[in-house]
Amino acid sequence: MRRITFQEALNEALMQEMERDSNVFVYGLDVTDHKRIFGSTKGLVERFGSERCFITPLSEDAMTGMGLGAAVNGLRPVHIHQRVDFLVLAMNQLLNMVSNYRYLSGGKVKVPMVIRAVVGRGWGQSAQHSKSLHSIFAHIPGLKVVLPTTPRDAKGLLISSIRDDNPVIFIEHRWLYFTSGEVPREPKPTPLEQGNILNTGEDITVVATSWMNVEALKAAEVLEKHGVSVEVVDPRTIAPLNDDLIIRSVKKTGHCIVADNDWVHCGFSGEIAARVAEKCFNELKSPVKRIGFAHAPCPTTRPLENKFYPNAIDIIRAVEEKLKLEPIDLSNEEFYSWENRFRGPF
């Protein structure tokens, strides 16, 4: 099958969905400029015109409410943010309005809206451009929260999110934009609320979100060479969360590590750890280990930033600890990093 990048996959999903349904429109800061949200909105304004793809004032709160009103009136807005950090300006709409509008109408209205937001490490982003708020959104009933990892899922999950009749927060890691993989040409939805096994393994389960799946796969690759078989499970949709695959996997392996692209305290990693500890109570051979950001605002300088973000090595070390292995010599392993490809925009 044809290979394209994550970024192209997002772009193709938007293109095809806008083609299919004239109620779909795309808006947000920067969606029509020459950078086109890391290329993901390329060609849209040219093809569909400025009524269906347009920039807005710097008014995240109102623009979120605007999307809600449009959705209630039958449109399917896709609102895009260069950084998830800008969504905290819209928290009132998200938590007080978007999430419960349908409920309060007694089920009479639908709220089909997608909010795409970019997360992830850049290049000295510092504290205000580095958050990953997925657990916060996931905490609120009524919102769906989706984090694609593969290019195939970027396309398939975005299509599903646009077609879904509920508000979906769709979180994209900027480093994933450069990854490539097989993606069907036709608009094939990936069902929401289903996890995905990215690597099959027997010895230990790593549940990872977003970019952390790439780190987990790298860890699995390294560990494989040393005879350790790691199962990597990507929940993809974290709210509502279908934990079937995760639970099944941990029942099989008996060990679980959660590598979340976020802070640990009161985050999604705690939810997974709690569920696994409860549902695999008899099978767990060791406590669930959580890996996430350091408990600090994200610092700018590279050495501290490197310590702030967890990576494949942290996962490898955690696996060794769980399975009581000798530390593997990693000096010959190449751990990639794409941070240098990012110098802005944010």
Partner: protein, 330 residues
């Protein structure tokens, strides 16, 4: 034989004023009914009554087209009643019953009825404004000519999202009418302790909004102002902003008067009560040639409707337990 008034025949005008009075009376009656039964503690939902603002709501909504849409705040009873005319679902909702328009989940503060184009109301100040703007955006997108009317209080002007919404609506020339119902109070806080500006219409006009204002408690005046606003809006293709003053008769939330707490005076109330919207409208109907009996009859019809709805609401069952988790997702 024509007796022109804004180019309307006397017949038309009489009919119009009857309609306005019916709306006002339905609101007043419903609110008084709530006041009557509230202490039974069966309507377990905080209420922000519309008593005092009947002229505004009735006048504006009378000027709306059938397919125009409306949004409101927690102070939404007037809007609901004027827009839908129905009271069964209304009271059932207040009683928390299955037959409420929100199956009892919405309560007083979140009433809306999409099938009658009442598209939402919110209890977080100003939050419904951008949503209304989005609905207007959709109407423009779909080229369906429907207008959106959004009601909010003077307090909403202090929330940033009001300004963001205003800017976007004006920038995109959206088919929306902003209605600020200014009672000079946010709960117990006076407007002068909250706002640095003197005239909101002066400011709003600089965003490219057509502005209109009134302190009238005569629903017909409000109606005519709204009709004028809508005409101008359709002509020059700009949003409208109506700044309308009124007096809140009762406490912010709840069913009682609250002059004893000293944050406002009963004198002020008395001044406004002299021009009570219903008094004005009723007198006008007599002047327009209706006889007392005719008015009494239409009042009685409404009284009966409301009493029947209360009975209906009381008898309606509570929603089943399964309703707790339904409608969270579509």
């Amino acid at each position: 034989m024509k007796n022109s008034f804004f180019g309307v025949t006397k017949m038309d005008r009489t009919r119009l004023n009857i309609e306005l009075y019916k709306k006002e009376y339905l609101i007043r009656k419903s609110e008084e009914t709530i006041r009557k039964y509230y202490m039974d503690d069966e309507m377990k939902t905080p209420v922000h009554l519309s008593v005092g603002e009947e002229a505004i709501v009735s006048g504006v909504i009378q000027a709306m087209g059938k397919r125009d849409q409306v949004f409101g705040t927690y102070r939404n009873h007037g809007i609901y009643l004027a827009k839908t005319g129905e009271t069964d679902k209304f009271f059932a909702e207040l009683y928390g019953k299955k037959d409420g328009m929100g199956k009892g989940k919405a309560g007083s503060m979140h009433m809306f009825l999409p099938e009658e184009n009442f598209m939402g109301s919110s209890a977080i100040v100003a939050t419904v404004i951008p949503v209304a703007v989005g609905a207007a955006f959709a109407n423009k997108y779909k080229k369906n000519k429907n207008l959106v009317f959004v009601f909010f209080g003077d307090g909403a002007l202090e929330e940033g999202v009001f300004w963001e919404s205003l800017n976007f609506a004006c920038l995109k020339k959206l088919p929306i009418v902003f209605i600020c119902e200014d009672n000079g109070l946010a709960i117990h806080a006076h407007i002068k302790d909250r706002q640095a500006f003197k005239s909101i219409t002066d400011i709003v006009s600089k965003f490219g909004c057509n502005v209109f204002k009134s302190e009238s408690t005569d629903a017909e005046v409000i109606y005519n102002l709204t009709v004028e606003a809508v005409k101008k809006q359709r002509r020059v293709n700009k949003p409208s902003f109506l700044h309308l003053k009124y007096y809140r008769y009762l406490e912010h939330v709840g069913v009682n008067q609250d002059f004893q707490y000293g944050y406002r005076s009963e004198e002020e109330f008395k001044k406004w009560f002299k021009v009570d919207p219903l008094k004005i409208q009723r007198r006008k109907l007599l002047k327009l040639g209706l006889i007392e009996k005719e008015i009494k009859e239409l009042e009685k019809a409404i009284d009966e409707q409301v009493e029947k709805s209360v009975e209906f609401a009381k008898k309606s069952p509570f929603p089943g337990e399964e309703e707790l988790l339904s409608d969270v997702y579509a």
